[in-house]
Symmetry: C2
Subunit: 194 residues, 2 copies
DNA sequence: TTTTTTGTTGATTGACGAGTCAATAAACTT
DNA sequence: AAGTTTATTGACTCGTCAATCAACAAAAAA
């Protein structure tokens, strides 16, 4: 049976299964066995490829983050002007791929993980810095000073909207979330000192 | 040794120890033994008084929530006018008692808990509803329509600021957080249709 | 004073889960 | 054909932890 070149396939299956299982459990209280079973293999194989549970979680985190990052880059590539680019970032943050219960739950739990695992913290920091710098690039032309504070509050608002999603029932409401982000900016002094 | 009337004392000690331990671990991966040891008793006694780990967490959650609730009520009692009352809510949310690493970590983990435990979810929902209605009472006189959306985004922003605190290092910066909350409101159309 | 209630713990149980290992088998190399 | 690498798992080890229990101690009630 053993076909060669299984490693990437198995790893991907494990990473996806990890996200699903974290979503199901709503926490990191997920056994390697559960993950492996959902990914269609034995627990031993999961250990074989990743070496340990910690590494599996880390890989899952990287996956979510890089997926999000890629989507942002894609959206920015076709958006022209700061206003449009800003909105592109917003839309990606609440796109169907990212704003799903599973993924939101994963994010939340990654924040928890970041409190005790340095690698996880580093990854999250990278994401936060990237988001901040993306936002700043758009905000500076629109609101000269105050762009920094605005970027920070927008970041916090996005995270808060994610956080609150986990308590809601029913399908995620991206429209409402987007409206709040946009309203956060409207009526702010436009370009006070360019 | 056995003095009578220990129950409330023991319970309080356990609840406080729980919050400290959650803060230390940064997660709910905390054993009853750890909690009991920090509270100065045997694990068996913790089980005796609470019946199980789940109940200990729930009690800790109630403690944090009721402390916050009491502080809000106290601040509202001496604040006059919607503007002042609004700011009172903000200040309590980032007061020295509530905006501490331990407590912030506890909040975060309660959100996680809420995903898998119905009781925890109920408690958090109560808090959210209360916050929302407190905010609404202040916002309606100031911004007629749009008060609802504003209350929701303020709630999300508060949660987001808490969430982001767990990644920061150094002491919590309440001033900056407060500035963001206040800025979120400034320049919004005041009282468009009263 | 006996009995009951309340407080307290050491020792134990039973379950579960991460990680290891030896063994098997297919595919590639030489 | 013999040897090496890659894939795969069942069985096992070792540790941990929630929960239980029997036993002991002191206060209160009878």
């Amino acid at each position: 049976m053993p076909k060669l070149g299984m490693e990437p396939i198995r790893k991907e299956a494990l990473v996806k299964a990890t996200i699903v299982e974290i979503g199901r459990a709503g926490s990191l209280d997920v056994t390697v066995s559960q993950i492996a079973r959902r990914a269609g293999m034995s627990p031993a194989l999961a250990h074989h490829y990743f070496g340990g549970k910690e590494a599996i979680f880390l890989a899952a985190m990287r996956h979510v983050l890089s997926l999000y990052g890629a989507e942002v880059r894609g959206a920015l590539a076709v958006a022209e002007g700061p206003q449009a680019r800003l909105d592109a970032i917003f839309r990606v943050s609440f796109s169907a791929t990212n704003f799903r219960r599973e993924v939101v739950s994963a994010w939340l739990n990654f924040y928890v993980l970041a409190q005790s695992q340095a690698d996880a913290r580093r990854l999250l920091s990278v994401y936060q810095r990237r988001l901040r710098s993306n936002l700043l690039a758009c905000l500076r032309p629109l609101h000269g000073h105050g762009a920094e504070a605005l970027a920070d509050s927008l970041g916090a608002l996005i995270d808060g909207l994610y956080l609150r999603e986990v308590l809601k029932e029913g399908p995620p409401d991206a429209e409402t979330a987007l409206r709040m982000l946009r309203d956060h900016l409207t009526d702010k002094g436009k370009d006070p000192n360019p």
